[in-house]
């Protein structure tokens, strides 16, 4: 567990440093202006420089072998992680915009919710099916019918509109 945390810390530190470097170099190309008339690049450059310094210090701190007395905010031990659920839910949120574009609201919402329910409770796939269906239709009714939100509509949504009058 400790080793996992150390590895995650190192990855985070490298990613943060990489982002800071990229941000700093991008801001370097912007117009700084003069002290009397600061340009659009002034704040990004100050922010980028400070971010680069801080992330470099964090990277050094993470890469340095740990001494016993060092005080650092640590995430509490979390036991066995449910990586399937974590990456599944993340995948669902990433896939949702693409699904929404082609599958429209009800089908894509049903698919995403069903996958999430199954990931969190694999033993109840039939119940998950009906729950997902209920949530997809229910959320469409609440948001589209009751709140008047314009949601991507296709055949299923039109059908519901016709049924709903």
């Amino acid at each position: 567990m400790e080793r996992d945390n150390r590895r995650n810390e190192k990855i985070t530190a490298f990613v943060l440093f990489g982002f800071a470097l990229f941000y700093f170099l991008s801001s370097w190309r912007m117009k700084m202006g003069s002290p009397r008339n600061p340009g659009p690049g002034l704040i990004p450059l100050i922010t980028g420089s400070l971010l680069l310094l801080c992330t470099a210090a964090y990277l050094i701190r993470v890469l340095r072998p740990k001494s016993g007395g060092r005080k650092e905010e640590k995430a509490p031990p979390r036991g066995e992680k449910n990586y399937g659920a974590i990456f599944g839910i993340l995948g669902c949120t990433l896939a949702y915009p693409f699904l929404l574009e082609y599958g429209k609201f009800i089908a894509s919402t049903f698919a995403v919710v069903y996958v999430m329910l199954v990931l969190l409770k694999p033993s109840r796939s039939l119940l998950s099916f009906f729950l997902a269906l209920g949530m997809a239709v229910g959320s469409f009714v609440i948001f589209s019918f009751l709140l008047g939100v314009a949601l991507p509509s296709g055949f299923l949504e039109d059908l519901l509109f016709r049924i709903g009058g």
């Binding site: 117009k31 990004p44 964090y58 993340l90 949120t93 995403v112 709140l147």
Partner: protein, 510 residues
């Protein structure tokens, strides 16, 4: 004084309209549910509901959020007392004596004292808020860009110092937030910054998907990490809710002390409701004639901290309304809401939109009253919420976030941002980063940039001219002391320890 009373009465007249009463009721119920559920705090709930407030007017949105904030403070105490589970961080201290009281069969008394204390604290903090905001707003009207820049810097630095944890990590979060705030078209020159040719990025990174991702999606990902655990639910009979005369006698002074302490601490940047509970608990223990009772079920240990965390909520509204600067992450979300409604909080808001200000103040009071009346009889209903399986609750939260973000701009990029920032928030939390300063900096960032650039233009690029103005200088001195004092204190302690060791003969004199 007469003008204030008239304005407040006018605020009550608006807040008592059925539609606003409905928002206050929904807010307090939602807040209580959020407070009861461990993991999902008021911040997450406010972020998740942010997009839906666009359907309401600004006053309605503010009333809803005030209800959520107060409700969460109260809901957290219910599970702390009954189940020893702090629904959120500000209720951790209540577990110590509240749960002990429950074990001794005094759960009902602890819940009542907590509810009455929260109501008294809410009332005191609203009175304080009215007085301090108006006074501060009058002064703030005389502030120029250098003062606002100094206040922003001071707020962020104090937040870093008081949030706890690693200072370096907190600074990285603030700078990341500032960096995100610079994306989009420059407001003065119209030049695009970090847009990489993506047309949608010219408007900047929307605050909404970032907040909902970092708090909503990240909370879900953190919650599903572990296997599900359903808490056995404990209930309280209505007859058990009444404290004894002795318990009332001991509670009232603690409630008043907690309220005043909480309000003052609420004015300071940082997680003020959490800090206030600890300070109040220590204060009560020191003042008690029987400090040995603390930790064993002392009613003052419930009354003081529970009043303090509610009063801190009122205090936290002061810098937002008076200066337009949020000092806590929850207030950053409230500021974001106002901005989504086209309003800029600050001293001018009270002058230009007095109806909004006084309606919110009045509705806070109404919300507090609702909490007192509704929550005690419904305590068993709220506790049963813990029985809702996580595998159903979490997909619902994700779905609300997805629909919430989509409904604002119908933008697929916003949905992608939600997913990306959900992962970013989850990853950063996993290695011990506190993500709240990022959101705060993202909200304050544009204001800081504007005031710095305006200040430099006004002073002709003279930094000394910016710093040496009386208010600015005082604020920069506070910033300096915030960093210098702990170092000095540490070295004094170290030298004292060394001297003591030398006296005891452990370390020989050189």
């Amino acid at each position: 004084m007469l003008e204030i009373s008239q304005s407040l009465l006018h605020g009550f007249a608006i807040a008592l309209q059925p539609v606003y009463l409905y928002y206050a009721l929904i807010g307090t119920i939602l807040g209580t549910i959020v407070g009861v559920l461990p993991g999902l705090g008021p911040l997450g709930a406010m972020a998740i509901l942010l997009s839906f407030t666009l359907k309401l007017d600004a006053a309605g949105a503010m009333i809803l959020f005030a209800g959520i904030y107060y409700g969460a403070m109260y809901g957290g105490s219910t599970t702390s007392i009954l189940l020893n589970i702090p629904g959120e961080a500000a209720s951790v201290v209540t577990c110590i004596d509240g749960y002990k009281m429950a074990q001794k069969g005094r759960a009902g008394a602890a819940l009542t004292v907590s509810a009455v204390g929260s109501f008294i604290a809410g009332t005191i903090s609203i009175l304080g808020l009215m007085g301090v905001v108006l006074f501060l707003a009058d002064i703030a009207l005389r502030f120029g860009p250098p003062e606002f820049f100094a206040i922003g810097v001071c707020g962020l630095v104090l937040l870093v110092r008081l949030t706890g944890g690693s200072i370096l990590q907190a600074f990285i979060m603030i700078l990341l937030g500032m960096a995100l705030a610079t994306v989009g078209m420059d407001f003065l020159t119209g030049i695009g910054r970090f847009t990489f040719g993506i047309h949608e990025l010219e408007q900047g990174i929307d605050f909404l998907p970032v907040a909902m991702g970092i708090f909503g999606i990240a909370e879900v990902l953190t919650a599903v990490e572990q296997k599900e655990f359903i808490q056995p639910v404990k209930t309280v009979g209505l007859r058990e809710l009444l404290p004894t005369r002795e318990e009332w006698r001991r509670s009232f002074p603690a409630m008043f002390r907690g309220s005043i302490l909480g309000f003052i601490i609420g004015l300071v940047p940082g997680p003020s409701p959490v800090i206030s509970t600890f300070v109040s608990y220590i204060c009560e223990k020191r003042l008690s004639k029987n400090p040995g009772e603390f930790g064993e079920g002392a009613i003052e240990g419930v009354a003081g901290p529970e009043s303090a965390n509610n009063a801190a909520v009122g205090g936290a509204y002061v810098p937002l309304f008076a200066l337009g600067i949020p000092f806590t992450p929850a207030m950053a979300i409230v500021l974001g809401t106002l901005m989504l409604h086209g309003l800029t909080p600050g001293p001018n808001l009270i002058k230009t939109k007095p109806d909004l200000f006084w309606t919110v103040i009045a509705s806070m009071y109404i919300g507090n009253f609702m909490l007192l009346v509704l929550n005690l009889p419904l305590v068993n209903v709220f506790v049963r919420i813990l029985k809702v399986p996580q595998n159903i609750l979490m997909p619902v939260i994700v779905l609300i976030c997805l629909i919430g973000v989509y409904t604002v701009n119908a933008s697929y990029l916003d949905l992608l941002m939600l997913a990306v920032f959900g992962f970013v928030g989850y990853a950063l939390r996993g290695v011990g980063f506190q993500v709240a300063p990022l959101i705060l900096a993202m909200v304050i960032g544009p204001m800081l940039e504007t005031s710095l650039r305006q200040s430099l233009s006004i002073t002709g690029g003279n930094l000394a001219g910016m710093i040496l103005r009386p208010i600015c200088l005082a604020l920069y001195i506070i910033v300096g002391l915030t960093f210098a004092l702990p170092v000095v204190w540490k070295s004094i302690k170290k030298s004292r320890l060394l001297r003591r060791s030398q006296i005891q003969g452990k370390i020989p004199d050189k």
